[in-house]
Subunit: 336 residues, 2 copies
């Protein structure tokens, strides 16, 4: 049995989703993998709780009832550590970043320098600093995993990293943003962009500020990460993106009459990444609905592989984070 110490940075929906899985499957992970987890710090935007072992059930209750960990003063010591302080001070085996911090690469790099492995669902560090992060981890024999950043629980990153070793990937095409799919498929029913967006917001599919989805940035981050994994490191600045905000209800209806739909399609080829609305036949695997994501991976030997699954969702995203945590532990186990 190996005990692995974890630091959570971020304790929103995804963070608590991960914590719930670690609690509920504690016994299973012990039996199946010989691993026990000990969460030694949790950081939210208000504070850091740091102790020998934090009670996850209570942490979730505190966060959900009080809204912030800073109020949890009766049982644990509360620190005003920021993430950079956590990775310096807290001696954890794995740092779990489930924030949206666009500058997280700074403390990811620091964590690696301190000898900590990283599992993250946070896209901008990879979309802007892939090479630095992977290089730093590789140099130190550490693990840096990020399955949750693309297609949530659908394991496209692991598939690209672990299989098709003899193939040269020629192209990846896909739909990587569920909000735009929802809006476009609502427009197929005859409502305009603004109405469709409001409906998406009402249902919690789009955020209050939906710009990152609508303008293609979210899909662009994901396409950038896929390029880094399948080909070579690039940054988000090098890719072309175009959003869906100029698409009219009339256009959508027109294409629908020709059995075509518009989707926000990402195309990833070596040295060439784009995200833009495109018309595709209704019969294409790219014609997804709801929050499903899809990728078509074309290799020179294996041909076209279609991978489709949830592209969002708390449980689904947490599934990928937990899978990465366990994979990291299995490497750690083999080392000792």
């Amino acid at each position: 049995m190996k005990t692995i110490s974890l630091s959570f940075i971020g304790f929103g929906n995804i963070g608590r989703g991960v914590a719930r899985i670690l609690m509920n499957k504690k016994q299973l992970f012990k039996e199946k993998y010989g691993i026990e987890f000990r969460v030694i710090s949790i950081t939210d935007s208000s504070a850091t709780i740091w102790d020998e072992e934090i009670n996850l059930e209570e942490a979730i209750m505190i966060k959900e009832n009080l809204g912030a960990l800073s109020g949890w003063t009766n049982e644990y010591e509360v620190f005003d550590f920021r993430p950079i302080d956590v990775v310096r001070e807290v001696d954890s085996d794995i740092v779990i970043d489930v924030t949206n911090d666009p500058n997280a690469h700074i403390w990811h790099l620091q964590a690696l320098r301190e000898g900590r492995n990283i599992v993250t669902s946070n896209k901008p560090p990879l979309a802007f600093h892939y090479w630095e992060l992977i290089h730093e981890a590789g140099k130190r024999g550490l693990s840096y995993k990020f399955e949750a950043t693309v297609m949530a629980g659908t394991p496209i990153i692991t598939l690209l990293q672990e299989s098709l070793k003899g193939d040269s990937i020629e192209k990846i095409e896909g739909v990587f943003n569920g909000t735009t799919t929802f809006i476009l498929s609502e427009m197929e029913k005859g409502i305009n962009f603004e109405e469709a967006l409001r409906k998406a917001q009402k249902l919690g599919i789009a955020e209050r500020d939906p710009s990152g989805d609508i303008n293609g940035v979210d899909a662009g981050y994901k396409a950038t990460i896929l390029h880094c994994v399948a080909f070579h490191p690039i940054t988000f600045r090098e890719i072309k993106i175009k959003g869906i905000d100029e698409i009219t209800e009339k256009e959508v209806q027109q294409f629908l009459g020709r059995k075509q739909v518009i989707r926000l399609i990402a195309k990833v080829e070596e040295g060439n990444v784009s995200v833009e609305p495109m018309t595709i036949p209704k019969s294409s695997p790219l014609a997804v609905y709801g929050t499903s994501n899809v990728a078509i991976i074309k290799g020179d030997l294996g041909g076209e592989i279609v991978l489709k699954g949830a592209g969002a969702g708390i449980k689904e995203t947490a599934s990928a984070v937990v899978s990465d945590i366990i994979r990291t532990c299995l490497t750690l186990k083999n080392k000792t």
Copy 2:
């Protein structure tokens, strides 16, 4: 740079397909993985060629022109070794079984006892002796890989082994035999079973003796292997199979009128595996055409993941074998 010695057992279409990839991508694999391959023996049904390094280009020419390696007497020593002799005598790092030998488990086990790693596309050893083989390999710290046995180049085995670590798999459903799909979709066009079968044979999709495909044995082998990977070891004897030979043209047409098609569906749940013809909506991901295979993998956290791709083909199957060879080499490299 690491040099890995290989023994080919079987030098039919798949074996030569693998050899061609190793030749054509020699430089690429050196640069990308730091691996060089040296084929030190090739065995076909006629003989075994064994030397310090065999010229693959010539081996392919000899096999394709003379039909058998036993005629290749001018350059190499020709041995009358059977596979069991090869794994005993030839000191290779990886034994590649691309035969259909139903008793191959005997020499697979011997190869493992001799300290050799195995990569195979051969289904019966796994469908009948999964536990023995994996246990023997595990005990000795050796690798036993078999991506090509299910869905050819579409990496379902690696996906199940390397990702979804936190999920409990609830069910896998899929279409894993292209010949039956071809016959059934031809019957949708209005011809009967016998005519459709003859067409499949004429096009080289069905073999001269198509019984293994038609009666569900081939799909059953694959479903058994998936159960072993996703749940626990069982054998082919424990599963239920029913073929497609009793399906009439009339039935097919009737269902088609209701927007349903018949496909040979494999269902894999813990302790429960079946393969039988079932009606499914034309809109279902299981309604595949041609030689495409598809799997729907349902996990308790990540939800439904659809994986679709080539289920047959020389290049596609060879792609999986080569991917396994490289993955094995990367483990060997880390060990030394």
